[in-house]
C-alpha cells in the first residue's frame, strides 16, 4: 500500500530538482497565507460577491490585469533561467530536459497567458467606457471568458510541480509532441491549458465584436469611433477567424495522444506537416491579434499627449483592417525551409512584405500626429516614443526575414529570436504598458508614481537593447534557438553574456514596476477630475474610478474626439450653463456564480484528461453541461439600479446631479 502510494506520488509530483522543491514550498506557503487571510478577516463573502461572481467589465478587466502580471512574472523567471544557463559556454545550471521545459513554458505563457489576458484586460477596462456603453454586449459570457482563461492558465502552470511541464516548444510540433516523442503528461497539460483558455478567448472575440457593433453611444458612427476601439474591432475579427483553427489543431493532437490516432504521427500514415501548417494558420494571425490593440493604444496616447487630432484617421483605419486581412495569408513564412516550392514561397514572401506597407504607414501617421503638436513626456508617452524606433527596426528585420532565400540563413537562428522579441516586446509589451500607465488613473483613481516609473522605463529600454541586439549577431554566428548549451569553439560566449546582462536589467525594471504599483497605491497622486491627462475620448468624461454603471446618462456623440471638443466648446463659452441631464433608474446585469463553477468544471475535466482519468474527466464534463443547463433555466438575470442610488453615487463622485 505504502509502496504504491509512493510510486504514484513520485510520478504525479515532479521530483528531483531543487528549483522545483523550492517552487513547491513557495506555492504551498502562498496558498496557506492566502487562505489564512481570507479566513482570518472573514473575506470569503467579499471575495465571492465582489470578484468571483462579478459581471462588471471593469472588475473583470482588473482581474485580467492582475493575472497577466503574475504570468509576466512566471514567464520572466523562465527567461532569466534560460539566460543564466546561456550566459557562458558549458554552464551546468539547468539540465537539457529542464531547459527544454523552461523555453516551452516561457513561450507559451508569454503569448497565451500574458499577452492575451493583458490585452483582454485592456479591452475590458477601456472599450465600453470609450464607446459610451454601460457594459459589454454579454456580461455573463465575459465573466465565463475570464474564468476559462484563469483556470486554463492554472492548469498549464501546475504542470510545473505536478506531472511535469511540456517540453516540445511553444507550438508543440509533432511528431516530437506525439506519444512517441513525449510520453509524459506535459503535452496534455499544454493541450488542455490552451484549449480551455482558448475557448474563453474565442468568446471574448465574439463579445467585443457585438459590443462594438451594437453598443456604441448614439451618434458614434463607425468613422467616429476612437482608434483603440477600431483596433479592438480588427483584433476581434482576427480572433474569431483564427481561434477555431487552434481549437481544432489541439483537439486533433489530443486525439492522436489519447485515442491512438494517426493524424500527425510518424507511423500509420500520419502527416506531421499538416499540423505545422494548421498551427501557423492560427499562430501568425495571433501575432497580429496581440499587436493591433497596441497600435490602437499608441494612437490614443500620441493624440492625447501631442494635444492634436490623430493624423490620417481614415488611412489608420484602412491600415488596421488591411493588416487583419493580410495576416491570414502569410503563415508559410514560418517554414519557408519546408520546401513547399518556389511558387508558394514567393507568394507568401511577398504577402509578408506587403504587411510592412500599412504598418509603415501607421508609423508615419503617429509621427505626423506629433508634428506641429505639443508633446508632453509623461509615462504613457515615454513608452510610446520608445516603441517607435524599436518597432521600426524590428519591422525592418521582419521584412528581411520575409525574403525567402535569405530566410534559409536566418531561420531557427538567434536572428529570428531577436526579431520576434523586438516586435513583441517593443510593440506588444511596450504598448500594453503604455496603455496600463495611461488608463490606470481612470480605473483606480490615482496616477502611478513618475520617478519609479522612469527608473523602470530606462531599465526596460536599455535592458532590451543590451539583451536583443547581440542576439541578431549571434544568429549570424550560426547560433540556433533552443540549444541548452554551447561550447567555447564558436565564439558565442561574449555576446551571450552581454545578452544575459540585458535580460536581468529588464527583470530589475519589472521589479521597479511592481514596487511602483505598491508605492502608488499608498502615495500615488489622487485624481479628482476624472481627466488627469487632458484627454480626448469619452472615458475621461466620467469620474475615476467610474461608477458601476459607467455613464449616469448615456452621452450623445457627434464628432471624433467628443470629450475634447466638448471641453473646447466650454472654454469658448464658459458662461453658458452646463445642461444637467435628468437621471433615471439604470438597467444592469446581475452577478452570477455560474461562470466560475463552469470554468472550474472545465479545469476538473482537463485535469482528468491530462492524466487519462476518465472518471474525473467525464465528471468535469457533466459539471460543464449542468452549469449550462442551470444558466439556461435562469431567467432573473438583470435588475434596475434605483434612482436614489444613482444620485447618491454621482454626488459622491462630485458630479452635478
Amino acid at each position: 500500500m505504502y509502496a504504491s502510494i509512493k510510486s504514484f506520488a513520485s510520478s504525479f509530483f515532479v521530483t528531483g530538482d531543487p528549483l522545483i522543491y523550492g517552487a513547491d514550498v513557495s506555492i504551498a506557503l502562498t496558498s496557506i497565507a492566502i487562505l489564512f487571510v481570507l479566513f482570518y478577516f472573514k473575506k470569503w463573502g467579499w471575495l465571492w460577491r465582489e470578484w468571483l461572481t462579478t459581471v462588471d467589465h471593469k472588475k473583470i478587466g482588473i482581474m485580467y490585469l492582475i493575472a497577466s502580471l503574475l504570468m509576466l512574472f512566471r514567464g520572466g523567471v523562465d527567461a532569466l533561467l534560460m539566460r543564466t544557463q546561456l550566459a557562458l559556454p558549458n554552464v551546468h545550471f539547468l539540465q537539457a530536459d529542464h531547459y527544454n521545459e523552461v523555453f516551452t513554458t516561457h513561450g507559451t505563457i508569454m503569448i497565451l497567458f500574458m499577452a492575451m489576458p493583458m490585452m483582454f484586460g485592456l479591452f475590458n477596462m477601456v472599450v465600453p467606457l470609450q464607446i459610451g456603453a454601460r457594459d459589454v454586449a454579454y456580461p455573463f459570457l465575459n465573466s465565463v471568458s475570464f474564468w476559462l482563461f484563469l483556470f486554463g492558465a492554472m492548469l498549464f502552470n501546475i504542470s510545473f510541480v505536478i506531472g511535469g511541464s511540456p517540453d516540445a516548444g511553444w507550438l508543440s510540433y509533432p511528431p516530437l509532441s506525439e506519444l512517441s516523442g513525449s510520453s509524459g503528461v506535459g503535452e496534455n497539460f499544454y493541450i488542455w491549458g490552451i484549449q480551455i483558455s482558448g475557448i474563453g478567448s474565442l468568446a471574448t472575440g465574439i463579445n467585443f465584436i457585438v459590443t462594438i457593433l451594437k453598443m456604441r453611444a448614439p451618434g458614434m458612427k463607425f468613422m467616429k469611433m476612437p482608434m483603440f476601439t477600431w483596433s479592438v474591432f480588427s483584433s476581434s475579427i482576427i480572433i474569431i477567424f483564427a481561434f477555431p483553427i487552434l481549437t481544432v489543431t489541439l483537439a486533433l493532437l489530443f486525439i492522436d495522444r489519447y485515442m491512438g490516432g494517426h493524424l500527425f504521427t510518424m507511423d500509420g500514415g500520419g502527416f506531421p506537416m499538416m499540423y505545422i501548417n494548421l498551427i501557423w494558420m492560427w499562430g501568425h494571425p495571433e501575432v497580429y491579434i496581440v499587436v493591433l490593440p497596441a497600435f490602437g493604444i499608441f494612437s490614443e496616447i500620441v493624440a492625447t499627449f501631442s494635444r492634436k487630432r490623430i493624423f490620417g484617421y481614415k488611412s489608420m483605419v484602412f491600415a488596421l483592417m488591411s493588416i487583419s486581412i493580410l495576416s491570414f495569408f502569410t503563415w508559410v513564412h514560418h517554414f519557408f525551409t519546408m520546401g513547399s516550392g518556389a511558387d508558394v514561397n514567393v507568394a507568401f514572401a511577398i504577402a509578408t512584405m506587403a504587411i510592412g506597407i500599412p504598418t509603415g504607414a501607421k508609423v508615419f501617421n503617429w509621427l505626423f500626429t506629433m508634428f506641429r503638436g505639443r508633446i508632453r513626456l509623461e509615462q504613457p508617452m515615454m513608452w510610446t516614443l520608445a516603441f517607435i524606433p524599436c518597432f521600426v527596426v524590428g519591422g525592418a528585420t521582419g521584412v528581411m526575414l520575409a525574403v525567402a532565400p535569405a530566410d534559409y540563413q536566418y531561420h531557427n537562428s538567434y536572428f529570428l529570436i531577436a526579431h520576434f522579441h523586438q516586435v513583441l516586446i517593443g510593440g506588444v509589451v511596450f504598448g500594453y504598458l503604455a496603455g496600463i500607465y495611461y488608463w490606470w488613473p481612470k480605473l483606480f483613481g490615482f496616477k502611478l508614481n513618475e520617478r519609479l516609473g522612469k527608473y523602470a522605463f530606462w531599465l526596460w529600454n536599455i535592458g532590451f537593447y543590451v539583451c536583443f541586439m547581440p542576439q541578431y549577431a549571434l544568429g549570424f554566428m550560426g547560433m540556433t534557438r533552443r540549444v541548452y548549451t554551447y561550447g567555447w569553439d564558436m565564439g558565442w560566449g561574449p555576446l551571450n553574456l552581454v545578452s544575459t546582462i540585458g535580460a536581468f536589467l529588464m527583470g530589475i525594471g519589472f521589479v521597479f514596476q511592481v514596487w511602483q504599483i505598491l508605492y502608488s497605491v499608498k502615495y500615488g497622486e489622487r485624481d479628482k477630475t476624472g481627466d488627469p491627462w487632458n484627454a480626448r475620448t469619452l472615458e475621461w468624461s466620467i469620474p475615476s474610478p467610474p461608477p458601476m454603471y459607467n455613464f449616469a446618462v448615456v452621452p450623445v456623440v457627434d464628432e471624433r474626439d467628443p470629450f475634447w471638443e466638448e471641453k473646447e466648446r466650454r472654454n469658448f463659452a464658459p458662461a453658458e450653463p452646463v445642461p444637467v441631464a435628468k437621471l433615471e433608474p439604470i438597467h444592469m446585469p446581475r452577478n452570477s456564480g455560474i461562470p466560475f463553477i463552469f470554468a472550474a468544471c472545465w479545469f476538473v475535466a482537463g485535469f482528468g484528461f491530462v492524466f487519462g482519468w476518465n472518471w474525473m474527466a467525464f465528471t468535469g464534463l457533466a459539471g460543464v453541461g449542468i452549469s449550462l443547463l442551470v444558466r439556461s433555466f435562469t431567467y432573473d438575470t438583470d435588475y434596475y439600479v434605483p434612482l436614489e442610488e444613482v444620485i447618491e453615487t454621482e454626488k459622491a463622485a462630485g458630479r452635478a446631479v
Binding site: F311, R374, Y408, N412, T480
Partner: protein
Amino acid sequence: MKKRSNLRGLLLLITGLLTTVLLSGCDSKFVVFDPQGPVAQTQYKLIILSAILCAIVVIPVLAITVFIVLRYRDKPGNTAPYKPHWDDSKVLEILWWGIPIVIIVILGGYTARDTYALARTPKTAVTDVKPVEIQVTSLDWKWLFMYPEQNIATVNYVHIPAGVQVHFELTSDAPMNSFWIPQLGGQEYTMPGMAMSLWLQADKTGSFYGTGANFSGKEFAHMRFNVTSESQADFNKWVDGVKGKSHELTEAGYNELAIPGKSEEQTFSSYPTELFDSIVKKNGGHHMDMDMDENNDDKVDTDEQKSDSKNAHDMDDMSDMDMSNMNSSEMNHK
C-alpha cells in the same frame, strides 16, 4: 535636459551595438557573412540588399522621430508651429504609402528571382564534373551521412570535394530537424517520410560548421557536425581509407544507431543499399504506394499520384532527381 541626454545615451548605445555587429561581420566567426559557396553567396547578397533597402526607410524615420520629439516639446516659449486641427494630407499619405510599396516591389522582385534560381538544379560551370550524392538522415540526436556512389557512411561529420556540386538528399527517422551549413548555404528541413533535395557547393577547401537547426528533443544541442571540403584527390583518398579501415553498417547496426542518444563521429565502410529508401518509406513514404495500387480511379488523388509516381521514380534513379519534383510532391500534401 537630463531626459534628453538619457535619450542620446540610448541612441549612442544602439548605434554602438549596431556598428559592432556590422563591423565584426568581417570576422570569420560570423559564418553567415562568410559565404564559401555559390548558394551562400546568393543568400548573402540578398541579406545585404534587403538590409540596405530597409535602412532607406528606417534611418530617415529614426531621424524624423528625433527631430519631431525635440522640436515639438510642450515647453513654454517653444516657437514651433502648433496646429491642433491639422490632421490630413493627401500628399504625405501618398508619399508614405508609396515609398514602402516601391521598396517592397524591388525587394519582392529580387526575392522571386533568387527563390526560383535556388529551386532549380544548379548549372555547373564545369559541366563534365558529376555531382556528389549524399543521403542525410537526422536521427535522435545525431546525423547519418550515406554516400550511395561510394557506398560508405559517416556519423556527425561529412567530407565533400571542393568545387563540385553536392546533392544532399534529406530525410529524418526522428522528429523533424533542419540541415544547416551556414557557410555553404541556408538550411532545409529534414522530415520523416519525405526526401528533400538541397544543392550546395564549396568553392574552396576548408572546414565548416554544420548543425541541426530545428528543435528535436532532449539532446538537440549536440546535433552538430563538421563539414570538410577537400580536393578531389584528397576526397578519393579519404573514401579509400574509409573503405579499407572501418567496419560496415548493418541493418541491426542502423537500428542501434537510431536509438535516441548522443554520438561521437563514426565511420562505416559500407551500408545496406536500400537503407535510405526504406527509411523514407517506413515513415510515410509507404502510404503513397498504397494510393497508387488501390485508388487508381480516384480522381481527387490524381495529382498526388502523379507526384508519388515521380517520387517512386526518383527513388529508383537518384542521380536525375531534381528539386522541383520533390517540392511538388510536398506541395500536394499540404
